[in-house]
Symmetry: C2
Subunit: 349 residues, 2 copies
Amino acid sequence: MTAKPIRVALDAMGGDFAPLNEIQGAIAAAKIVSRYTPLEIIFIGKEKEIRSALAQFDTSELHYSIVNADETVTMDDEPSAVIKRKRNSSLFRGIELHADGYADAFVSAGNTGAVMATATLILGRIKGVNRPTIGTFFPTTQKGRPALILDAGANIESKPRHLYEFAVMGSAYVTQIFGVENPRVGLLNIGEERVKGTEAVVQAYELLENGPLNFIGNIEGRDILHGVADIVVCDGFTGNILLKFAESIMSMLKAKLRAYAGQSFLHKTAIGLAAIPLKAVFKELDYQEYGGIPLLGVNGAVIIGHGKSTPKALQNMILSAVETVRKDVNGTIGRAFVAASSSSEQSKN
Amino acid sequence: MTAKPIRVALDAMGGDFAPLNEIQGAIAAAKIVSRYTPLEIIFIGKEKEIRSALAQFDTSELHYSIVNADETVTMDDEPSAVIKRKRNSSLFRGIELHADGYADAFVSAGNTGAVMATATLILGRIKGVNRPTIGTFFPTTQKGRPALILDAGANIESKPRHLYEFAVMGSAYVTQIFGVENPRVGLLNIGEERVKGTEAVVQAYELLENGPLNFIGNIEGRDILHGVADIVVCDGFTGNILLKFAESIMSMLKAKLRAYAGQSFLHKTAIGLAAIPLKAVFKELDYQEYGGIPLLGVNGAVIIGHGKSTPKALQNMILSAVETVRKDVNGTIGRAFVAASSSSEQSKN
């Protein structure tokens, strides 16, 4: 293959298990991606630490380079402080490399707020976008068709126009990445009737109704897992609480099953027999399977992952970055806003 | 026993399976309650329909009377329309009987909004309460110690003062009903830091911090099921979405397990073996086990249940009504507001 490689800048200091999980994720991703297009990983971070970690693995199939960055952004760092005072961090340097054209994408399992703020500042927003957004995938009963929840915590108090933008960006993303034509957009609410919910949600309903998307109306909390919508639009406060709640369900069920097993030998045996099907089902519900959370609306391909990202999750984040670049998600979002602007302008007036 | 019976007015037309589930729930509740205190059920609704349904069951242990009400409130009726135009409905008549002292409590699996509005109007609010609230119980990993989520949908846009009131009412309820001393109050938010979240939540944090409750600070979506707090305070929009989402998890898991079983005979056998422990765990997570949702803050004992309430759920709603009366939950809430008023007045100024 002589195609130009896709260059992914990887924050090697991002996650809670950095750089080990980052390196393993990169090696696994390279094995998959190199089948169809060349991939180069640019590890950003403390060079010495990265090199000694790399030495523990077989990197023969990995094309990589290292860019040194001495500082590390922690989960407690305020986003604004990173921009002001941690310009030599792996997070800041990685986004800068991407903005300057030395990388086609940036991937981090680090401080979500800091990645978001820095990316928005340095890369800028796509025309038409007031609020870039981070989504998250929820599994549904419809196999292979997860629901994208937008916003998942980036925009706490979302105005009607912001909710509308989330829908436009989410639709473009799902269409490009999953090949879903006219993905169904649902507005998360406390009832189906258009008059239900907060003032912001009622107004967003109107914008969506008058827009060009496949808007299916209000949906309720119970509809998400049943796969009623491909894109679930909500404010970041609700989305974030829902996301974290959902993440805790599996560990809660596991704790309950363990407690049950501990009650008697018979229970223990029954749970032992149940373990294989349960694992299969739990695996399907695992957020890691869906890889990184896309940051939509910035002029760049930025994939943000959970701090606790496993090698598998990081692999999927890199795959997600590659697809975002290959399928020109940003171009599609830009065109969607051009297409949508006439109808949304009408609604605004 | 010669104690005065506790008289529960039961909306016999309320739920989706009325009056059958209501009657079965009443019979089951009577068996339990009559062991320690006499119980009288006042069925409100279409007398003929109730009588013919009652004839199908053994009512020898049930003390009951019937009050005829020809109209029925549907799930689609606007709360205000019920008050204006359906005064001869089982819902309205039942609450009226309670307000006039002919019943000690009112139980309904009918239209939540209509019960709430009618009860607030006719029974009035407890002094100190601006917004009555409906809560819901979530199971936690701490056996026998569910979390009470307040508000679960009655108050869509909650001001800081309302969030504070939910905490006061929830604490009083949990203390009285479950005997939990100094129940832990958590404010549902997107992060632990006090500056996180919406303006309303940040201000509610201050009120709670300066109040007399056992406020443990902000908690996140992932903390609920782990039993970090006994009372989880949130606006009704978030609470309602979370509640409906949580209710859908079991059916989603069941669908996934069924799909897995359908893949092969081996899978089917494994799921068959797993069925008993899974049922035991799912049962523990079932909302029905926690009975009716208490409407807190009105001058009366009003228990509102899910439209799909089973006989078991209705039984638990009646038990919940009896406990609310016996343990003087309203008196406790009233006293809590008197006790809390000095500190909250301070915070307001």
